[in-house]
Symmetry: C2
């Protein structure tokens, strides 16, 4: 969110929009399990993108008012259309940047952030802003992946190469594709209390219906999305890139496996005011 | 088990014996959850070592007869003493090598293998032997770690270096410290059916009581155990080694985290006889 829309590593193509929705629907149960908000509460979704998580939030907590923000007007428009088509009326979309929030202090009962901190140059600034607009006693929920958690078989150097390309490109764009492991540290550093990390691990293989399809549509499609950037940036030559992608697909075939961990973090804003940056 | 006792990468010191028992008691709930055998059944525990898992098996399935084998007479003696001290009478210990089993075909109702295949040069030979002594319809349970699953914060190159040293030394000794990801493939290749992989992930931090202690006593102690081998083998110089170990300890301190995944695999021997190596 802190970066300009142009530098968002995954791009904002229609294909990417479809990928994000596939990601959310396939992973919805895994990631949103445990996230239900009380009727009448007001929740800030910071970095809603095309609304992939918004539709799950709105459906899972139908009597909660969501304020979903993003810094990309195109993404917001898509999110709005999607929520409206689904018939949900409990979401307000606003253009806003997580690093320069315009809400009054202590506006929200809860805050939800998913796949957003990974794209921000200084996540502590973002978390500090979010803590300010959260009421004392309110909770923050942060969900992020960590590409270093990818374990797969067959395991090849080329497959790691293409994943590393995305990690490097995301770092060059100011983000961090390995942020999952840092969530506990980041929430503590931002002054949140009662921090609890719930790793959500996926195991995909042909023995588990739909799981290998999800790896293709979500993870491999995301890697494939940076092919041109990786080659143009000199991070991989086209042949090595294509071998790496082929090797990733091989993990979804007979007797292959692909494992990945998302980190879901929850914290609370203490009732006593704390100085930021502690 | 296929290697000579001398080449067992972790050694067989008293300290290592204590480490293995710490490992099993701390992780017992996580790894043995779901493993209970029917009264009256006979189960082969292949590669019991010092009995760290045996004591959990015997206690969790008190009316099951276990036959626990190992190729190290010293380990067997320790295991026997431990089980006897605990008052269990449902375990028979036998010196035997998983790669040259002397039992008649179809002797056992079930087979249990934990932290053993990782030390074997050809795990498919071991699995083929185990399948032969298993009755048709019986199950095999295999539990292995995968050091590639270690995710930690703070994340440093030196910390990865010392882990990589163990991976390399274990490979040099004929084993595979990254075998967890291969279990589905190995069981399928050995002709087992109804294969199900259950990853068991641990997340340790100071917010979770005892978890950081477990990382120190189980994981870091295991890495520390190969210090001399790693330095003598030219895999790390003493300073880099010590920095790596210090960095691993740092992950157990304030706002650090350490995550690791064990893979628990279950398969069944089909009722129809299958050719090996399918």
């Amino acid at each position: 969110m802190s970066e300009s829309p142009q530098s968002y590593v995954h791009g904002r193509s229609d294909r990417e929009s479809i990928r994000l929705h596939d990601q959310a629907s396939g992973l919805g149960l895994l990631l949103h399990e445990g996230t239900r908000y009380p009727p009448g509460s007001t929740v800030l979704e910071a970095g809603c993108g095309v609304g992939a998580q918004t539709i799950l939030l709105a459906g899972n907590s139908p009597q909660t008012q969501f304020v979903s923000i993003d810094n990309s007007p195109e993404s917001l428009a898509k999110a709005k259309e999607r929520i409206s088509e689904a018939g949900y009326t409990n979401v307000t979309f606003l253009p806003s940047d997580i690093c320069s929030l315009q809400f009054p202090a202590e506006t929200f009962d809860h805050v939800f952030v998913c796949f957003t901190l990974e794209h921000i140059t200084d996540p502590l600034v973002a978390l500090d802003n979010l803590r300010k607009v959260l009421r004392p006693g309110g909770t923050i929920t942060v969900i992020e992946g960590d590409h270093g958690s990818a374990i797969f078989y067959p395991d090849t150097q080329e497959a790691h190469l293409v994943i590393d390309c995305l990690v490097i490109l995301q770092r060059q764009a100011g983000g961090n594709a390995l942020i999952g492991r840092e969530l506990e540290h980041l929430l503590a550093k931002s002054g949140f209390v009662d921090i609890y990390i719930s790793p959500r691990q996926t195991y995909a293989s042909q023995n588990i219906p739909h799981s290998s399809e999800a790896v293709k549509k979500i993870f491999i499609a995301m890697i494939e999305g940076v092919r041109e950037q990786a080659i143009a940036g000199g991070l991989a030559d086209p042949d090595a890139w294509d071998r790496g992608i082929r090797d990733l697909y091989r993990t979804t075939e007979e007797n292959g496996m692909f494992c990945y961990t998302f980190f879901k973090a929850a914290g609370r804003k203490g009732l006593q005011v704390r100085r930021s940056g502690r």
